[in-house]
Amino acid sequence: MLISNEKYDVIIIGAGSIGLMTAYHFLKMGGKSVIVLEKGYLGCGSTGRCGGGIREQWGSPENIILAKKSIDIWEKLPKELEDDLEFHQGGYLILAFSEEEAETLKQNVHLQHKFGINSKILTPEEAKEIVPILNTSGIVLATYNKRDAKASPFRTLFALKKKIEEMGGKVLTHTEVIGFKVKGKEVKEVITTRGSLKANLVVNATGAWSKIIGKMLGENLPVEPYRHEIMVTERLSHLFDPMVISFSKGIYFQQMPRGEIIGGIGNPEEKPGFFIQPTSWFPYHFAKTLIEIAPALRHVRMLRHWTGYYEVTPDAKPIIDYSEVINNVIHATGFSGHGFMVSPMVGKIVAEMLLGKSPSIDIEPYSIRRFREGRIVRETGVVG
């Protein structure tokens, strides 16, 4: 099917959580013509490979604000989309294994309280009451926030696509953007593998691939793909509710509604690049660390293990900004391993920008300029 000569107000590149949330909010706020272009099948990017964790326990105002406002939206989203997103607020339990780490987590909680988040500091024993399979030895303290949650990334993508189509928008899969026709400082046409489309405004929501789109526009976006590995076990009866994470060990794991455990661990040696193959490093290190934290899980069988990309910026904070070289392009990328959870609020902000409204939160902290000007403070609360 060729698609030449169609014209849209807005063309969004990338049908991950960011692209689809943007299209949804754009239509919800009264926007009319929007199409989302996706090079593969729905969910083939990072969103379809991610852990589905949603938390507001962050270590910087930038991430706390996005996450908190996103949870406000997540709470209403299943009803708005009229679909089961497997959204469940079972909390996040964050473990500290040294005095230094405990201090950082305490400071984070202090900061979170300033933004109205009800996170709590727990003793190892209190943490074990919430996650009975926890081995408390070595744990100094934990922090917990009941409002943190999880949702199914795939169900979210499909529910969004269905709603977008019902509202008159389009989502076109298997259509790759391969270039742009630029005149002056404006994109006039988006060139795809199925023909070109005319657009007034373009959104780059291509996550780990956004640097490639940047390059096509003559812009250098500091977003690098880093492979991350994740696995799922067989199903078990219900053992625990929250997502359990440790920043120092780089591990996270949670039990899904059907009973399987999903978890991952970051490899500190990982280099940037598109390496999609699973490694043998992962199952060993994941199993070892998981069994240290929850020894009973040694008996559980791993079913599958796969990889995806974190789309990482130098400070692990996102880019939500107008292009610096092309007037009618907006970049929403660089979510550094937590783009799914903040996608509702990011989609809302980008939709506001597309409709010429002033964004409902200050987007200055998410500027591209900050990297050039060296104003970067690294987020401490990244896992994996």
Binding site: G43, R155, F158, P283, L297, R301, L303, H305, W306
Partner: protein, 90 residues
Amino acid sequence: MKIVCRCYDITEEEIIETIKKYNITSLEELKRILNVGMGECQGRTCIPIIISIMSRILGKSPDDIEVPKPRPPAFTVRLGDFIGDEDAHK
């Protein structure tokens, strides 16, 4: 009612309903929404049946259905076995 995926108790009716509800065109998509093909048997039991259902519903030849990539490990492995913890078998 006909069970197609025994690992996840998914029926033929559920598969057809989901394909229609979300306009699903590939097995990669279907498996992530229903978990079909992702159970203990790694889809060895149900994937061939699902391909034939999809080809019937979508009016495509079975060869044109995008088939999921096999994921390691090829057979399920106890987590304890990855770190060679012997006593765990007890």
